[in-house]
Amino acid sequence: MVLWPMEASADKEARNGITQEAWRSDELASSSMNRLRFVAKPPMDLKVCIIRVGGTNCDRETKRALEDLGVKAEVLHLTRLLREGNLLEYQGLVIPGGFSYGDYIRAGAILGKQIAAKLGRELSTFIDDGRPVLGICNGFQVLIEAGFLPGLRDSEAIQQAALTTNSSARYECRWVHLLHENRGKCLFTSIIPYRRVLRIPIGHAEGRFVLLREKEKEYLDRLIENDQIVFRYCMPDGVAAMGKYPFNPNGSIYDIAGVCNPSGNVLGLMPHPERAYFGWQLPDWTRFGKPPAYGDGRLIFESFVNCLRRF
C-alpha cells in the first residue's frame, strides 16, 4: 500500500481517473498536514548547519527542504566552520549528498576522517547532547567512515560497517520503496508509522551496507535488537526485498537503506529525501493529473524539525 500525503484542497478535477486505492487518504496524510500547519511558524532561532566541502552537491535542495519547514538552514564550508564557526550554535546538523573530495580512496573516506580528526570532539558533544545529525547518501558514507554510525559499543573494531560498491558494480539512479522498520527510537521518523512504505530515490555507486565480516551476524542482531535499523529496501507491497534487484538496488545486507545510532539521534540513509520532498518530484505524479503537494521525503525532514524544537 502506497500512500501520498495529498494536498488537503486537491480539487476534484485532479482526481479524475485515479484508482480508489491510490487516493485513500489515511490518518498519516491528514496528521502530517495538521502538523504542517503546526510547524508553519517555528521559531526562526532554530538553526541547522549543512556542512559542505569540495564535491558536496546536494546542499541547496537540502536547505530548500528545511527552509520550507520554517527553520533556518545555513550551508557552511567545513573550513569556515573550523576557522570561525561553532557547531554548538546549531540545533541540528546535516551532512548532505555529493562526492566529497571526489570520493577518492573510498566514498566519504576523506571527509569522514577529516571530521573525525578536526571536528570529532565537538561533534561528539553535539551528539551526546542528543542533537540530531542527518547524513544523506555521501553524508551517510561520511558518518560511517568517521565512526559515528552504526556506533555500536565495541572496543575492538576500528570500523564496524562500510558502504561499499553496489552489487551491480555501477552507479544507480532510481526510485526505491523503503520500509520504515524503526520501532520508535529514531528521531527522524517519529511521525512515520511503523512499517509504512515510503518512495524515495537513490543515486549512488557505493551504497551496499556491509558489516565487519567476522562479526556480521552479531552486529546485525545487535542493530535489530537496539532498534537501530530505520529503513529497509522493500517491494512495492511492503515485503522486504530480500536482496532482490532492483528493489534492493545495491545488495545491502538485510536490505538496509538507513540506520541510526544507539541513541536514535544520528541517522544515515542512502536514499535522498530532499529529492522526494515535493509532490512534483515523484516519478509518476502525472498519474494524479496534478501533482500532490508533497512527497514522502518530507516526512523525514518534518520529524527532524519536530525534534529540533526540543532544544
Binding site: 479524475n16 573550513t79 562526492f99 571526489g102 555501477r170 539512479c173 516519478p283 493529473g289
Partner: protein, 799 residues
C-alpha cells in the same frame, strides 16, 4: 614529427634562458612553409601560411613559435569555423553561398526576430528569457575526436567543457544532455582497422566518462539519446549539452583597458596540447600515438569548486567579463576576450601556475588543461575575487592586463615572446569549399506485407536504435538538484518520456522543457529532409509534454568538408535547417560544427543534432507518456504517408528506399498548435510523438510505460488518405504526428479543437496490459502483452 625536417633551418632560438624560437618566414619556400606548419603541428594550409608570411614581412620581423601557435589555434576549423564562414562553390566555380552560418542559420533568428532572445551566437552559450530577470543559457558541444582516442577522458572533458561554456555566460549549470553515436556493439573485431578501438570499449568509456563528470559535479543528466550505426565505428560522436540559469542583469561583458586578467581553476599541464588542430583533421591509425596528449584529464571536483566561486563573483558583481578556456587554451581565451571588447592585452606567461616544471612557453600558451576559466576585473576588485577563490580552495592568479592598443603581447621572464595585432588574428583568409550533391538513386523496394506484424514490432523494439537505454540512463544521476519534474524514464515502468521538464526556480511554477531530434538514417538519402525531420522531431518532442516558445541549437558532425560530396550534403542540410526552423517559428540561438570526422573506415554518417529548449507556463500541467485511465479514447494526430525511405522498418529488412519523410509545414504547425491547446485545456492525459518505428513503436512504448493497455484499429484511417498496407501505416515515420490519450468527458471538446488538423480516433485505453491492433480490414495484426513488449525493448542493452 613526420615529414622532412628542412623547416628546422628556419629556426633560431631567441634566449638562452628558455626555449622560444623565431622562424625566418621571409625566405621560406612554399614547401618549407607547409613543413613548418606540419612540424609545429598547427594545421595551417599554404594559403594561410602565406598570409602569415605577408603579415610578418610587412612588420619586418620573424614570428616566434608562440605567435605561430597562436595563429594556428585561432584559425583552426575548431575555433574559427572556417567552413561555415567561408565561400561555397560549385565544381564549376559558381558561388553557391557565402558564409553558410549567416546565410542560413543566423538568418532564421534574424528574420524571426523574437524579442525573448537575449544573446544568440555571440557568447559561449545562447541565452533566452525565462521568468522575470532570469534567463536560460544553453550550449551543446561535440567531443568526438578525443573520445575516439580516450573514451572516458574524452567524453568527461566534453561535459566539463560545455559546463564551463555555461559558467562562461555567468549562468549556474542546472542540467546536462548527452547524445552519443557508436558503432554496433557486436561489431566483428577482425574487421577493425589498425588503430581503431572496438565500439564496445568506446561505448563503455564514453558512458562512464559522462556519468562520472555530471554525477560528480552534481548536475543532472536529463535528456539524451544513443544511436548505433556502422559509420560510427571509426568516428564516435559525443554531443554534450548543458543548460544554465542566470539573472540577466548579472550578465556582464564589459572588459575595459586597465582591467586585470585572472586565470582561475586547475593548473596548466601538458594534457590537451593541440586539441583543436587534432579536432580539425581526419583520424588516422597514427592518431593514438600522435594525438594522445591532445586529450585532457578530467577533474570534476575542481570544476564543482570553480563553479561555486564563479557564482559568488557573479552575485557580487566583482568581475567585468568571463570566458572559459577550451580549445586553444589561453591563446584563444585571451584573444577572444580582447577582441570582443576591441582591446589588446599583456600577458606574463611565467605567472601561470603549472602542474609541473619543464613546459616551454608555447605549451603553456596553448595547453587545453581542464577546469580553467578567465576573468577580467577592475584592479580594485582583484583582492576580493582572490579571496572568494581562496575560500573555495581554488587557485586564482592574475596573469595579465588589458590595454587599449589592440595588440596581443605575451611575455616570458620579461622578454616579449609574442606580439600580434588582434585585428589580424581574427581575420584569417577566407576558406573556399567545393560542394557537389546529387540525389542518390534508390528505388522503392517491393515486397508483400508480412503476415506476422507482431513479430516485426517486437524486433523493432529490440533493435539498437529503438531499444531502451535504461541501462545507461540509470548510471546518470537525473534527480540531483531536485528540480527534475518529468524524468527521462517515466514512473516505475521506466517508459521513454519525449522531453525532460525542469523546475529551476523556487518561487515559480514555470518550467523548462528540453528535447532533441536526430535522424542520421535519412541523411544518406536526402540531407535536406533529414535536417527538416530533425527540427520537427526536436520541436514535436518538446510540444508533446507541453513545451512552447521553443528555441533551437544546431550541431553538425560531418566528414571532411574539403571533399565536395561531404560539403554538398552539409550545404543541403544547412538549407533544410533554415527552411524548417523558419517555418516552425523556432530561432536558432547557438550551435557548433565538428567536421573532419573521417577515419580509415570512411566518413561519419551526416549527423545533425537539433536540441530544443522550450518553456511550460506551469509544470503541473506537463504531460507524460504513460496511459492514465481505461476507457479514455486515443487519437492519432497528423497524417501518415507512404514514405518509408530510411525507416527502421526497411532497415530491419536491409532495405533503404528512396522516399524519406518530408515536412508539411501547414500541417506541422497546425498539429503542434492542437497539442498545445489541448494540453492547456486539460484534455490530454498522455501524449507520445511518433518517430523511429512510427505508430507501431509509439503505441508499444506507451503501453510498456503503463499499467494499462491499448486497443487500436486502423479501420478509422481507411477514409483518410493513407498507404493501403497495414505495415506501412504501422511503421511509416512521417513527421509531425502524435498519439494522444484524451480525457473521456472532453472527447467532443478535443474534436472541436482539432478541427482543421487530421485527427483520427483510433482506439481506447483498456484495463488489460496488452497492445491489440486491428488492421485496415478489421483483422487482428498485433496482439501482445506489455510484458512481452518490455522484454523485447529491454533486450539490447542489458549490462
Amino acid at each position: 614529427m613526420e615529414g622532412s625536417l628542412s623547416w628546422k633551418v628556419l629556426a633560431k632560438r631567441i634566449s638562452e634562458r628558455f626555449e622560444v624560437y623565431r622562424f625566418n618566414l621571409r625566405e621560406a619556400s612554399d614547401r618549407q612553409l607547409l613543413e613548418l606548419s606540419e612540424g609545429l603541428g598547427i594545421g595551417l594550409n599554404l594559403e594561410e601560411m602565406k598570409a602569415c608570411q605577408r603579415y610578418f614581412e610587412a612588420r619586418g620581423i620573424d614570428p616566434t613559435d608562440v605567435e605561430l601557435q597562436t595563429i594556428g589555434q585561432t584559425w583552426s576549423e575548431h575555433c574559427f569555423h572556417k567552413t561555415f564562414k567561408g565561400t561555397i562553390l560549385s565544381p564549376k566555380g559558381c558561388i553557391l553561398a557565402r558564409n553558410l552560418f549567416k546565410t542560413y542559420i543566423r538568418r532564421v533568428t534574424d528574420e524571426l526576430a523574437k524579442p525573448w532572445c537575449v544573446s544568440v551566437f555571440e557568447d559561449n552559450a545562447g541565452i533566452v528569457e525565462f521568468e522575470g530577470d532570469y534567463g536560460v543559457a544553453i550550449k551543446v558541444e561535440t567531443h568526438n575526436h578525443p573520445s575516439a582516442i580516450e573514451p572516458f577522458g574524452g567524453a568527461a572533458t566534453g561535459i566539463g567543457g560545455v559546463i564551463r561554456d555555461i559558467l562562461g555566460v555567468w549562468a549556474e549549470p542546472i542540467a546536462n544532455t548527452d547524445v552519443l553515436c557508436f558503432g554496433p556493439l557486436d561489431y566483428p573485431p577482425e574487421r577493425l582497422p589498425q588503430g581503431i578501438k572496438h565500439p564496445r570499449y568506446i561505448y563503455r568509456g564514453v558512458v562512464a566518462g559522462i556519468g562520472s563528470y555530471g554525477n560528480n559535479m552534481g548536475i543532472p543528466t536529463v535528456n539524451g539519446a544513443i544511436y548505433f550505426d556502422d559509420s560510427y565505428v571509426g568516428n564516435v560522436v559525443v554531443y554534450c549539452g548543458c543548460v544554465g540559469i542566470l539573472p540577466i542583469s548579472k550578465y556582464i561583458r564589459a572588459t575595459r583597458a586597465g582591467d586585470v586578467a585572472i586565470l582561475v581553476g586547475g593548473r596548466t599541464g601538458r594534457d590537451g596540447i593541440h586539441g583543436v588542430t587534432f579536432a580539425s583533421a581526419d583520424l588516422s591509425e597514427k592518431s593514438e600515438e600522435v594525438s594522445r596528449p591532445a586529450v585532457q584529464i578530467p577533474n570534476p571536483i575542481e570544476e564543482e569548486k570553480l563553479a561555486r566561486a564563479i557564482l559568488q563573483v557573479r552575485d557580487r558583481g566583482l568581475a567585468s567579463a568571463i570566458t572559459d578556456l577550451g580549445g586553444g587554451g589561453l591563446s584563444c581565451a585571451i584573444g577572444e576576450m580582447a577582441h570582443r571588447s576591441r582591446l589588446g592585452t599583456i600577458v606574463w606567461l611565467d605567472r601561470v601556475p603549472l602542474k609541473y616544471q619543464g613546459m616551454v612557453p608555447w605549451e603553456i600558451w596553448v595547453s587545453e588543461s581542464q577546469e580553467r576559466m578567465l576573468l577580467s576585473a577592475r584592479p580594485e576588485n582583484v583582492e576580493a575575487i582572490l579571496e572568494i577563490f581562496r575560500d573555495e580552495e581554488v587557485e586564482a592568479t592574475p596573469i595579465g592586463e588589458f590595454s587599449d592598443k589592440g595588440i596581443l603581447r605575451v611575455f616570458y621572464w620579461d622578454e616579449e615572446v609574442a606580439s600580434l595585432d588582434v585585428e589580424f588574428l581574427f581575420n584569417p583568409p577566407e576558406a573556399r569549399r567545393i560542394a557537389k550533391w546529387s540525389r542518390p538513386r534508390f528505388t522503392e523496394p517491393e515486397f508483400p506485407e508480412p503476415l506476422d506484424l507482431t513479430g516485426f514490432l517486437l524486433k523493432l523494439l529490440a533493435s539498437p536504435n529503438i531499444a531502451s537505454k535504461e541501462a545507461v540512463i540509470r548510471t546518470y544521476d537525473h534527480e540531483v538538484k531536485g528540480c527534475t519534474v518529468l524524468k527521462p524514464l517515466e514512473g516505475f515502468h521506466s517508459g521513454p518520456n519525449d522531453a525532460a521538464v525542469l523546475k529551476p526556480l523556487e518561487g515559480s511554477w514555470k518550467g523548462l522543457v528540453l528535447s532533441s531530434g536526430m535522424n542520421p538514417k535519412y541523411g544518406f538519402i536526402d540531407p535536406f529532409w533529414m535536417a527538416a525531420s530533425a527540427v520537427d522531431e526536436a520541436v514535436r518532442n518538446n510540444v508533446a509534454v507541453g513545451g512552447r516558445r521553443i528555441a533551437l541549437l544546431d550541431n553538425f558532425t560531418w566528414g571532411n568538408p574539403e571533399r565536395p560530396d561531404r560539403m554538398g550534403s552539409l550545404l543541403r542540410a544547412v538549407q533544410g535547417c533554415y527552411w524548417a526552423a523558419k517555418a516552425l517559428g523556432t530561432p536558432f540561438i547557438s550551435g557548433k560544427d565538428s567536421l573532419y570526422n573521417e577515419s580509415p573506415l570512411g566518413p561519419v554518417a551526416p549527423t545533425l543534432l537539433i536540441t530544443a529548449i522550450g518553456i511550460i507556463p506551469d509544470i503541473r500541467s506537463a504531460v507524460s507518456v504513460s496511459l492514465k485511465n481505461p476507457g479514455n479514447p486515443v487519437y492519432l494526430l497528423g497524417r501518415t504517408y507512404d514514405e518509408l525511405g530510411g525507416s527502421h522498418y526497411y532497415g530491419l529488412m536491409g532495405l533503404k528506399g528512396g522516399k524519406v519523410p518530408r515536412l508539411r509545414i501547414a500541417q506541422a504547425r497546425g498539429n503542434m498548435e492542437v497539442v498545445t491547446k489541448a494540453i492547456d485545456a486539460g484534455f490530454v492525459r498522455a501524449c507520445h510523438d511518433l518517430s523511429e518505428g512510427g505508430l507501431g513503436v509509439s503505441a508499444a512504448e506507451v503501453v510498456l510505460s503503463s499499467d494499462y493497455g491499448l486497443e487500436l484499429s486502423l479501420e478509422a484511417l481507411a477514409s483518410h488518405k493513407v498507404p493501403a498496407r497495414n505495415d506501412f501505416i504501422l511503421f511509416s515515420e512521417s513527421n509531425s504526428r502524435f498519439l494522444l490519450e484524451i480525457q473521456r468527458n472532453h472527447q467532443a471538446d478535443f474534436e472541436k479543437l482539432a478541427r482543421g488538423s487530421p485527427h483520427m480516433r483510433i482506439g481506447e485505453v483498456i484495463k488489460e496490459p496488452r497492445l491489440v491492433i486491428r488492421g485496415l480490414k478489421g483483422n487482428l495484426i498485433v496482439d501482445t502483452s506489455s510484458e512481452e513488449l518490455r522484454e523485447a525493448w529491454h533486450s539490447y542493452l542489458e549490462d
